[in-house]
């Protein structure tokens, strides 16, 4: 600024027009990029829909209930039944494990841990959110899967009567349960980061009031912290859910996929939308690609709904948003 100020009087007459032109250009640039973003979102939906329609018009099976995935056969048959169930089951397992643990860690960082541990640990969790999913996948396949053997057979032995933990086929535990655990580990840092921010924003006065009335620390958390943080926890979980639903490569590495629909989560087999796309893509022909895009569109719509819902829940408390987590 200092270098330009001596020159300022010289251009005085011209400046108002100049600046208006500059303002217009700049504002339109900025608005244009905002609009471009909306266009991209629209284009994603439009192009995937276009391809899906092409694929669905050739489908000889029912897209929603068919188990097979053979879109390149002379009589193309493909359906998302197995994929939808696998995606939902693995995401549910992930959420059941990850949400309570993540709330625990968030509380640990915000209320329980000594300051000296809390700060570095929060930092560590943030760093782990950045570990690429392929590395999680590699670790899951070569480290977690062998270590799951014992737990799997133990669950089968003692909880086999519950149907879902009944292992009907033996083999390496490359099953939906292991995938769910891996997904839980992957979404843990995200859920933790967002709920931690929420817990930090609980008004200090509420907490102190609870303590002053004689509440123990847990009673204080139950009456002051958790009610305040509930919308934050819900939206954090939904962000994690969105991530778990769309996770591709880690699932593709760990799961041994098949087109068998079964709720025996300890049996290897099943599949998820994203994993199926990643796996089938390489050898897919024209119609195969279109079919994969149809399943991608379903995934897109599901994640859109989940994320949209999460955002609407946080909309009231804007500052919780975890996009930069």
């Amino acid at each position: 600024m200092t270098s330009s100020s001596p020159a300022a009087p010289r251009g005085r007459e011209r400046r108002p027009r100049d600046s208006r032109v500059g303002d217009k250009i700049f504002m339109n640039l900025a608005r244009g990029s905002g609009i471009l973003l909306l266009v991209i979102m629209g284009a994603i939906a439009a192009f995937l829909t276009w391809r899906s329609v092409l694929a669905l018009s050739t489908n000889e099976g029912n897209f929603l209930t068919t188990f097979e995935w053979t879109p390149d056969a002379p009589k193309p048959v493909f359906g998302i039944a197995v994929l939808a169930v696998g995606t939902i089951v693995s995401a549910v397992i992930a959420m059941v494990i990850a949400v309570p643990v993540a709330i625990g860690i968030a509380l640990f960082i915000s209320h329980y841990a000594p300051r000296r541990i809390a700060q570095p640990f929060a930092y560590l969790v943030d760093l782990l959110a950045a570990v690429p999913s392929i590395v999680y996948g590699l670790w899951g396949a070569l480290f977690l899967v062998p270590h799951m053997d014992g737990l799997t057979s133990w669950l089968n032995q003692y909880l086999g009567w519950t149907y879902i933990f009944d292992q009907t086929r033996t083999g390496t535990p490359r099953n939906l349960f292991t995938v769910g655990i891996l997904l839980a580990i992957m979404v843990l840092p995200i859920i933790t980061a967002v709920s931690r921010e929420v817990f930090r924003q609980v008004p200090r006065m509420h907490e102190e009031a609870a303590l002053a009335l004689g509440a123990t620390r847990w009673e204080m958390i139950r009456t002051a912290v958790l009610p305040f943080g509930r919308p934050g926890i819900i939206s954090a979980s939904m962000l994690g859910l969105g991530r778990a639903l769309g996770e591709t490569i880690a699932v593709a590495v760990v799961l041994s996929a098949s087109n068998v629909l079964s709720l025996h989560i300890l049996d290897a087999g099943g599949g998820t939308f994203a994993q199926n796309i990643a796996l089938k893509f390489a050898e897919a022909g024209d119609n195969g690609r279109n079919a994969l895009m149809a399943s991608g569109l379903v995934l897109f719509v599901i994640t859109l709904l989940v994320n949209g819902a999460a955002r609407l829940i946080i909309a009231r408390r804007k500052e919780y948003s975890g996009a930069n987590a």
């Binding site: 192009f47 999913s133 580990i185």
Partner: protein, 358 residues
């Protein structure tokens, strides 16, 4: 705290008006923890449970039960619940630390022996997949170029969008953009890949190249940049803008010369974190870049390689120790790169952030 004193104080409470209730000594949780771990390991060893996961889970359950029961005996039910909650939180913490530490440790352990000068400076050209040798040079070049191109596209676009939202955005358009930026952060990477495939490769007829991969990466990067930049621009004090307007500086110049420079630290951090995030994306790259064994320094033509896809390809040759070794080596390099970016980014954030920045 012997049983005798407990009963005495309990009887004498109304008369002596003792203000403090019985408390467990400070070392009690630690003692219960050590005890339950010992018992847990004992059960595991005697019961012949091969998986150490189970040993840990049994110990955890014992610890939770132990701390509740002991505290309920000595301190009463409310305190016991409090102790129980504290124990649960600690167990959650440890449950989370174990896999995360194991992941880092295992990757370093497996990868460190593979990574050397030869590994970093050679491609896979002419290397038998099931044999030793080869390296990640071609993948490094590919990743750097693809991520670089994606950043060149996504960073300005994201920055301008954020400027629009903070400085100009009023009304329906701004609301829609805000909402869809938020939703866009959640797009699965494979969907972004499918979109670019149908638009760029199928509709417009371009073939596999590093550039089409970077288009998909840019889509994933834009919303992250917008969000973090938006947060940073909001932290710039309004007084600075008003002072600038009062001096007659037009709005666009105020933004370029006052607002953006003030927030530049935070913006850089946001962009770097976004770069770190897309560097590890495998799925879109796998579909669009196709993978190559030889070095291809032209991202606009022909298949390239990239680090995450390299890991995937090396892993995919099932039960091949040389492939696994190369995969771990590449994973270590990838993690080191991403973590390094993260650390630098957070360093910058701390070094020059507007007040209130993190």
């Amino acid at each position: 705290m012997t049983a005798a004193t407990t009963s005495v104080t309990a009887d004498a409470r109304p008369i002596s008006r003792k203000l403090t209730a019985n408390r467990l000594p400070k070392w009690a949780p630690a003692a219960i923890a050590v005890g339950s771990i010992a018992v847990g390991c004992g059960i595991g060893a005697v019961g012949g449970l091969e998986s150490h996961l189970q040993w840990g889970l049994i110990s955890a359950v014992l610890f939770l039960l132990g701390s509740y029961l002991v505290s309920a005996q000595v301190e009463g039910r409310r305190q016991a619940k409090d102790r129980f909650a504290t124990s649960v939180v600690w167990v959650a913490f440890i449950l989370a630390v174990v896999p995360l530490v194991s992941l880092t440790f295992y990757t370093v352990q497996q990868g460190i022996s593979v990574v050397n000068g030869n590994f970093l400076s050679h491609s896979m050209r002419g290397v038998i997949q099931s044999g030793p040798g080869g390296g990640i040079y071609h993948a490094l070049i590919g990743t750097l170029q693809q991520v670089g191109l994606a950043t060149l596209m996504a960073a300005p676009l994201g920055l301008l969008t954020a400027v629009y939202l903070v400085e100009y955005g009023r009304g329906k358009l701004a609301k829609a953009v805000t909402f869809f930026v938020d939703v866009m952060t959640g797009i699965p990477s494979i969907v972004a890949g499918l979109f670019i495939l149908s638009l760029w490769n199928l509709a417009l007829g371009f073939s596999y190249s590093g550039f089409s991969g970077s288009l998909a990466l840019a889509i994933l990067m834009i919303p992250v940049v917008v969000r973090s930049t938006e947060e940073m621009l909001k932290l710039v004090p309004n007084e600075l803008r008003e002072a600038s307007y009062a001096l007659g500086v037009p709005k666009w110049k105020t933004i370029l010369r006052i607002v953006l420079p003030t927030a530049i630290g935070g913006i850089t951090t946001g962009v770097m974190l976004a770069v770190a995030r897309i560097t590890g994306e495998t799925a879109p790259v796998m579909m669009l870049v196709f993978g190559a064994d030889a070095i291809n320094t032209n991202p606009f033509e022909g298949p390239q390689q990239s680090l995450p896809m390299y890991i995937w390809q090396q892993y995919s040759m099932v039960n091949n120790d040389f492939g696994y070794a190369r995969a771990w080596g590449a994973a270590l390099v990838l993690i080191a790169f991403v973590m390094g970016l993260n650390l630098i980014a957070r360093g910058i954030a701390r070094w020059r952030s507007p007040k209130g920045g993190h």
